[in-house]
């Protein structure tokens, strides 16, 4: 039986200083998991303090379209104005799509 399906993958590159706040927000938006890796690079704002402490992080979240919308809302409201942050999304095909999409009510 083919159990593959499509979910949304949102990738967020941010100053590591906001990591714990961002992860709380992802949980509250209904995300069920994520992968975090250290990141390096440069961007148009480049006003973070990242080279001093902790660098930048790259957070990848697999989520349903609804949860992805909530995450975009979170980023617009709390992060884009004042922090060095970049985010993008694309559809990805995964096995056991329901694993990433069980409706978890926002807290």
């Amino acid at each position: 039986m083919d159990t593959r399906g499509f979910v949304t993958c949102i990738t967020i590159v941010a100053e590591s200083i906001v990591e714990s706040r961002l992860l709380e927000g992802l949980t509250a938006s209904g995300a069920r998991g994520w992968t975090i890796t250290p990141a390096r690079g440069s961007g148009p704002k480049h006003q973070g303090m990242s080279e001093i402490e902790g660098g930048s992080i790259r957070v990848e979240v697999l989520a349903s379209a609804t949860v992805a919308d909530r995450i975009w809302q979170l980023l617009r409201e709390d992060y884009f104005t004042n922090y060095s942050i970049a985010a993008w999304e694309y559809p990805v095909q995964v096995d056991r799509a329901e694993r990433y999409c069980d409706p978890a009510p926002p807290r």
Binding site: I17, V18, S20, G48, M49, I52, E53, N82, Y83
Partner: protein, 324 residues
């Protein structure tokens, strides 16, 4: 001013390593430590300073320490308020950026403090062993006062940012390792410390040199941003440490500390934080431009203190000790 003191200070391995780092940054050569090594050396320095300070604290009486601790707390409030007011005269910065800078200058720099101790040790000038306790204490109030000054100007304010910043200050690596080291050193005493001395004492200056090489690269990269800063910020970043350092020296002498001890308290008030404060400020005052604070504290004040400030504060302390 005795140039011999400046020459002795510059000719030390840690300071020369720092200058090598600045040169490397200027030449765009890659001398940066891997991030994990940078984090580990920073933890090593914090714990080593805490341990040694804890052992020394055991040999100090409460009455001896009370005065300097009180002086440090008062300075921790006065220095950021002064910075906030003076920045208004010297620069066109808004209250949020002035508050961010006040938080940096109200707090202190572990590495400048450490370099001052290495300088005093090599010059055979004694100082009170409990100065590491004063370092730990001064980490905290300056940041909070600076944030409060900026917070008054912000509409509404972000409560979550404030609680995160408070957590970052109190439970961040700097305070936790310094305070933890003090407790461990105090409890284990000279005998316990003797067993780790080859690692935390014997290797200390070498590790400091490695760390300063990295700081030199970071400071050197900040120098480029000076061109955008205008004249007010560099003037502040050099003149304010001399003023705050003199206040610290006066505070130390009035509180009954030796000339060497008062000079160390002067170095503590003269130096600006670039580890604990930036993190707390970024969380509590996201509107503040971190480039301004880091350029001033890391790009100007830190090199100034390291090369010229440390011997200068000793001269000021010796002069004031003769008067007070």
């Amino acid at each position: 001013m005795s140039w011999d003191l400046v020459a002795t200070n510059i000719a030390s391995v840690p300071v020369l390593a720092f200058l090598l780092g600045v040169l490397a940054a200027g030449l765009k050569a890659d001398l940066r430590l891997p991030d994990a090594v940078y984090q580990a050396t920073s933890m090593y320095l914090l714990l080593a300073i805490g341990l040694k300070g804890g052992v020394a604290l055991r040999e100090s009486s409460l009455t001896e320490v009370a005065g300097p601790v009180a002086a440090t707390l008062v300075l921790g409030v006065i220095v950021p308020v002064l910075a906030f007011v003076i920045l208004r005269v010297l620069t066109r910065l808004g209250p949020v950026d002035r508050g961010a800078l006040a938080a940096h200058y109200g707090s202190t720099s572990l590495v400048t403090f450490t370099a001052a101790l290495v300088f005093l040790d090599s010059s055979d000038i004694s100082y009170e062993g409990y100065v590491a306790t004063l370092l730990t204490i001064l980490e905290i109030p300056g940041i909070l006062v600076g944030l409060l000054l900026a917070g008054r100007a912000m509409s509404g304010g972000d409560k979550r940012g404030w609680s995160e910043a408070l957590r970052e200050v109190l439970l961040g690596r700097s305070v936790l390792l310094l305070a933890g080291g003090l407790v461990i050193g105090y409890l284990s005493g000279p005998n316990g410390y003797a067993s780790v001395e080859p690692f935390f004492g014997g290797l200390f200056t070498g590790v400091l040199a490695l760390f300063l090489l990295e700081m030199g690269v970071l400071a050197g990269r900040r120098l480029g941003a000076l061109r955008e800063a205008g004249w007010g910020l560099p003037v502040f970043a050099i003149a304010f440490p001399i003023l705050a350092g003199t206040l610290g020296i006066v505070g130390g002498l009035v509180a009954g500390m030796s000339t060497g001890g008062a000079m160390v308290l002067g170095v503590l008030t003269a130096s600006a934080s670039y580890i604990a404060a930036p993190a707390a400020v970024r969380l509590a005052l996201p509107e503040a431009n971190p480039g301004i604070s880091l350029t001033a504290s890391l790009g100007i004040t830190f090199p100034f203190n390291l090369v010229i400030g440390i011997p200068l504060y000793l001269l000021i302390a010796e002069w004031l000790a003769g008067i007070l």
